[in-house]
């Protein structure tokens, strides 16, 4: 009973112990690999200096705006493409060209268009999230059971709007929510990169610390990102499970 949490705790402790041992053995310089035991101190100092929450709030702002815009536009465009054949025809090559461009490749344009600003970071974050949601929504709507659409016609719900609300949205919900969740993680991954070129946030603070070889501070913010991701994913999974309680 409960051997799983025990096993994973053991794994974590062993990992930290090996890390600590290597760091203390003097085999590697402490700037190359800070020991885990110095991390709490580094965190406390970042918090007491006021950096930690300022950076977290700033990054959170970029993240949430990027997440909101990227998901909303991605889902809307993906659904529109799946619903209207004419839109589908226009987007096919456009998506093929734009899709493989990584979000970070947009940094020059983000700066030219928005300056070194919050909007630039939000823009870069939203790009990766957009494509994930776009393809998830597109596939989800396309795979809605055609038989349920016929059913909806047979029972008098023949308008586009009725079909959308009664069949397509609920039918596509699992796929759309799956895409949103993937975007949720993707967003945190691009936050740091989007802030590397000077926009205040976790990423810029990491660059500062790295420049001073304060690698323990870098690790504090790496773990901060992991923590923020874990919190947002856990909260989202709760919401999703409530929305999709009809699934086995």
């Amino acid at each position: 009973m409960n051997s799983r949490p025990l096993a994973s705790a053991t794994g974590l402790i062993v990992f930290l112990a090996i890390w600590e041992a290597i760091a203390r053995s003097g085999l590697v310089a402490s700037t190359l690999l800070p020991a885990p035991s110095v991390l709490p101190g580094a965190l406390i100092s970042e918090v007491s200096l006021g950096f930690w929450h300022a950076m977290v709030i700033a990054s959170m702002e970029h993240y949430l705006i990027g997440l909101f815009l990227g998901s909303l536009l991605g889902i809307a465009c993906g659904m529109a493409v799946a619903l209207f054949p004419r839109v589908d025809a226009t987007q096919a090559w456009l998506a093929r060209v734009l899709r493989p461009i990584p979000p970070l490749a947009w940094i020059p344009f983000a700066i030219i268009w928005f300056g070194v600003s919050q909007s630039a970071a939000a823009f870069i974050i939203s790009i990766g999230i957009f494509w994930i949601n776009y393809f998830a929504a597109l596939t989800a709507v396309e795979s809605v059971d055609k038989e349920l659409i016929e059913l909806s016609n047979a029972f008098g719900h023949r308008s586009f709007f009725a079909r959308l609300v009664k069949v397509i949205l609920p039918g596509a919900a699992p796929g759309i929510l799956g895409g949103f969740r993937a975007g949720l993680g993707m967003g945190w991954m691009t936050v740091v990169a989007a802030e590397l070129f000077g926009i205040i946030g976790i990423g810029s603070r990491m660059m500062e610390a790295a420049g001073l070889l304060a690698t323990e501070v870098v690790i504090v913010y790496m773990l901060t990102i992991a923590f923020l991701y874990a919190v947002s994913d856990t909260l989202f999974v709760r919401v999703r499970d409530r929305l999709l309680q009809w699934q086995q």
Partner: protein, 257 residues
């Protein structure tokens, strides 16, 4: 008796998936269903049984011919309701809400809606299952919900497209008997498609054979056995033999059945 559906000289150029078919699916197809009658339609796969139901239900256009439906128009009812082979429940709706699907958009207030849902749930023997999710039901129970959903809109005509085709033999027999009881209690007209001749004879007042290419009604058998019927009753078994013979005559040398 008055006819509820009269079809004259029907031709359709669409197959069951709604794709335009090169050659017409039907030729000179005539069919009349009397009010309160239970008509079963048998024929080989691809003969156009499902297409015929869909044309009657206005889910598909006919290319030529006349489909005359004499039904009461009312904002509280739908004149035609359909039951499909796969129950086609919406997995995101509980049983009650699946049944309510056809009622949405009708002038039926909340109280009346609940009353009707309770009635049809009782009628199909699922009175305690209203709050279940579809995934919690067996195949037979799901099909009962499909029937309840169709009955809830209080239709004049029930169109049933091989509704028991995917069920095991025992569940199928049970549901056949329940369908006959429900038909008896509600007095609906039924057009029931199947490729099971025993089922067609046991259920129907009349068994129609659909066949040929393009298809038409090749034979019509009145089933003399009274009701309630027994499966082993002589009039039933004798009619089954007759229909089987007719079916093999119709299709001998033709496409495989």
């Amino acid at each position: 008796m008055a006819a509820i559906v009269e079809i004259d000289n029907l031709a359709a150029a669409f197959d069951a998936n709604g794709e335009p078919a090169g050659s017409p699916v039907f030729a000179n197809l005539d069919l009349t269903i009397e009010r309160g009658e239970f008509v079963t339609l048998v024929g080989p796969s691809g003969a156009g049984k499902s297409t015929l139901l869909r044309i009657i239900a206005d889910l598909m256009p006919a290319r030529q011919g006349n489909v005359r439906k004499t039904m009461q128009q009312s904002a509280q009812r739908r004149p035609i309701a359909m039951v499909f082979q796969e129950a086609r429940l919406m997995p995101w709706r509980r049983v009650r809400d699946n049944i309510a699907f056809g009622l949405e958009g009708l002038k039926v207030d909340k109280g009346e809606r609940d009353r009707r849902i309770d009635d049809v749930l009782r009628l199909v023997g699922l009175a305690d299952y209203g709050d279940r999710w579809p995934y919690e039901l067996s195949g037979g129970q799901r099909q009962r919900v499909g029937i309840a959903r169709a009955l809830a809109v209080d239709p004049d005509l029930l169109l049933m497209d091989e509704p028991f085709g995917a069920l095991d033999a025992i569940t199928r027999q049970t549901l056949q008997d329940e369908l006959l009881r429900i038909w008896h209690e509600t007095g609906k007209s039924v057009l029931f498609v199947t490729h099971d001749i025993d089922e067609a004879v046991y259920l129907g007042d009349r068994v129609l054979l659909l066949g040929g290419s393009p298809a038409t009604i090749t034979q019509s058998y009145d089933i003399a056995a009274g009701r309630p019927r027994r499966r082993d009753q002589e009039q039933v078994t004798e009619a089954v033999t007759r229909v089987k013979r007719g079916l093999s005559q119709t299709f001998e040398g033709g496409a495989g059945i």
